[in-house]
Symmetry: C2
Subunit: 298 residues, 2 copies
Amino acid sequence: MRDFSADHRWLSINTATLRGAGRLDTAIEACARHGVRAISPWRDQVAEISLARTRELVRTHGLALSGYCRGGLFTAVDAAGRRAALDDNRRAVDEAKALDAACLVLVVGGLPGALAGRVASKDLAAARREVADGIAATLVYARSVGMPLAIEPLHPMYAAERACVNTLAQALDLCEELDPLSADSLADSPTAAAALGVAVDVYHVWWDPQLEAQIARAGRHRLMAFHVCDWLVPTTDLLNDRGMMGDGVIDIARIRGWVEQAGFAGYSEVEIFSSGNWWKRPVDEVIATCIERHRRVV
Amino acid sequence: MRDFSADHRWLSINTATLRGAGRLDTAIEACARHGVRAISPWRDQVAEISLARTRELVRTHGLALSGYCRGGLFTAVDAAGRRAALDDNRRAVDEAKALDAACLVLVVGGLPGALAGRVASKDLAAARREVADGIAATLVYARSVGMPLAIEPLHPMYAAERACVNTLAQALDLCEELDPLSADSLADSPTAAAALGVAVDVYHVWWDPQLEAQIARAGRHRLMAFHVCDWLVPTTDLLNDRGMMGDGVIDIARIRGWVEQAGFAGYSEVEIFSSGNWWKRPVDEVIATCIERHRRVV
């Protein structure tokens, strides 16, 4: 397991963590100021300052993108909605490619209509089939341009609105179904990434009794991103009450140990949605705290 | 699958649903008034009016107990706490027996100290071993008096504070480890219940990709209770924002179909924690709505 205690070279900041900073350019400049080497921006933040400007800033500061957030949301109430989702995912792949992201993270979508508050179907199995079809269609395009897709299993409390892929086992089943890897092809090209893999966020998976076994099953070809924050006790909001690493109950270092044991050697990406706390603090304080916790508890 | 549309003979009311009614005697009398044949009371509600008075009311009105809530909370910050938990669980078994409950429901406990807001350990695997030890110890006593124990896997969002058993698969692994059933013994006594089984609450398990398969695995000997309510979109509170059946996104009838296919033929128990809505309404309106939804959407 890599020693993170001496520096923060493997720290990445998901820029959702810095929503309190205002625009993405301000957030990127703050990251650069603190010697952060990698970020993972959100599409709405990029759109606000333009893709070209984002690309310029990323290059100027020599930043890597540990991921790009996000594609997915494949389920829809009708065929037009499903087509629009696929079009939008191709655009997301193009943006990720333009920014040279390590992967496009997929938050796959929940029950059709649920995120808008008008559930059109309670058929969770059907939603899951729709998700598989959406990933399959997007994968054809993503492969053609060489952009890996990382399915992010979300905590089961998001199954209705955001993602009906809720365990690492389920995400890996999809990977094996849609992007089978032969032992030979992997042996021939030991450093090649798969076209389809997973993003492991400790917030979503820490509770899973199968976690250690499924991380081992994933292996380095499927482990495309590792996200950290913490589960607060008590948690007061289902979406925007995530904690800074060390302030909650997740044994983050243990999970990072499993991920690295399986061969992951990328960035540890801090992604904290925190409307009541961290989004209200000065951006320099937030980044300094991320760095300190990265070195001490991740 | 049984037809629930014509009557509510298989409806049970978990009296947590009626916390707005005030004391348990008021709640029980309201259930009797509406022709409800079964209830499942909570220990704090029983303690308030005394076990003897509860027993008298239950007998007077000819009520069955589909379960008794709750035992468990086995994890503790020290050895004294663990001993106290075991003592308390024996008392819970005695109370369940005095009321002739179908089973004692176990909410097994989370990380030690978390429910009190002071987490003493982040070692989830250790908490799970402690839970297994606690169930094993309690099972010796429960077997001796003939009270079945039903492990209730809780939604993963309760893993920290309330229960670190979070999937039906995990609960069934515990059942098989602690209370193995031989094919012969079951064949000899086809109606015998196991000493250790599970309580399936749709709120906790509806999202699980393995749900159908694990219900089939459980079978009638392990399926000791079936709880219903609904998952609201959006959910505004992690604990007390559960919905009335039909107001949320769970396909309850489909899950009941799986449970009955596996051999369950007991009560469908309504358990709704709802501080903002149902606990504020008149108890007769709550029960009438439970009955109507039981007939129409369960």
